[in-house]
Amino acid sequence: MTGTARVKRGMAEMLKGGVIMDVVTPEQAKIAEDAGAVAVMALERVPADIRAQGGVARMSDPDMIDGIIDAVSIPVMAKARIGHFAEAQVLQSLGVDYVDESEVLTPADEAHHIDKWAYTVPFVCGATNLGEALRRIAEGAAMIRSKGEAGTGNVVEATRHMRQIRADLRRLTVLDEEELYAAAKELRAPVELVREVASLGKLPVVLFTAGGIATPADAAMMMQLGAEGVFVGSGIFKSGDPARRAEAIVKATTFHDDADVVAKVSRGLGEAIVGINLSDLPEERRYASRGW
């Protein structure tokens, strides 16, 4: 049997403790693999460039995705627009290992996300809080990541999402049966799923962080806030020495609770991505509010 929930969720379990890196060329994919990435995200433009250039951001060219699949032996992920089920069908037919239904691309549907149960390929989706995470899981997402604010090199939003999800989870664990019904209503999520999460004390799928991670210390902070792994987008290939920074972030993710290691790998990395302050980013240009 292929495409079972156990196989899809299990794939994400194998990525835990690892770093997934955005790449736009086969050469970058090789650098990521050599640095110890557990997977790469194949993109035409990294989020920082999508922001800078504007326009509609779509699924990548299949030739470009094929080139990256051929270049590396680690899993390859790719992004589809929110609600764009035909892009997701194409990505599945290309043989990508995970589809990211991503707010970084321009949404294709303002009311509906993709019915992710209908696919053999697993999906990862972004969430800013527990309710959003559970709605995505109810639609079939096999992995959740924070939304952060991609392409900014600023972790403040990812921090907010990780803290929010963690606080929401903790709160559920102390509710009694009657209160869980009210909580489900409040979270706008199915009560069965809410009950499952309340008894587990964690999501039933793997939780990664994403959005604005630029340094080894950023990765270490996110892991200590409860992330089970890290997506790094523009932070690596928009920095001065991508190979070195990529490897440093991999090491800091594994030894996230050992400040001596994080200190050691943080030395001599060259320039980080310049970054954007969120106060300089008008509401309509923020990605975290995309998705419903």
Partner: protein, 216 residues
Amino acid sequence: MSIAQPVVGVLALQGDVREHLLALAEQDVVARPVRRAEELAEVHGLVLPGGESTTMSRLLETFELLEPLRDRVAAGLPVYGSCAGMILLAQEVLDGREGQHTLGAIDMVVRRNAFGRQVDSFEADLDFAGLGSGGDAEPAPLRAVFIRAPWVESVGDRVEVLARVPEIPAAGPAAGRVVAVRQGNALATAFHPELLAADGRDGRVHELFVRTVREA
């Protein structure tokens, strides 16, 4: 000599460490993550988890665990590897990354991602030798979860084959492939028993490994 409550480590550089720790905790052992040479020195057995074998290989090298681990394995430390862990235990890897390290604990050649990409990942029931509790009854089949899994391409004389992909038409070119092996104190599966064991569904493979640890 039998150890009453052995310490069993799980290599915790990357992968599904938590699931193996939970599965081991069910077997009345002290289960601990291992990331440093000092931690490795304290264990009576070690699990190499599922994950990305190229990442683990890289981190073993940079955090100077590769040589200490090779030494302990050569000295007979009981080890069990699932999926990426199986690749690490092999003598030789096909379709690996250039310079990928292995421990050579089992005389076998494994092919990485042999079943295909994630869309080809699957679960199936297998007959697995040695899971019985010693009675006459045939042991129940084992539910095996294969995720971008390797298979064993060939084995040496001293390797015992414990499980193969069933010879059914649905298995296609994978039919009959070797997916679980043992040599001395080293055990390896191409699939992930820990995903079911962590849920308390079927802990027999971890039970088998812990038996080896206790008897070593």
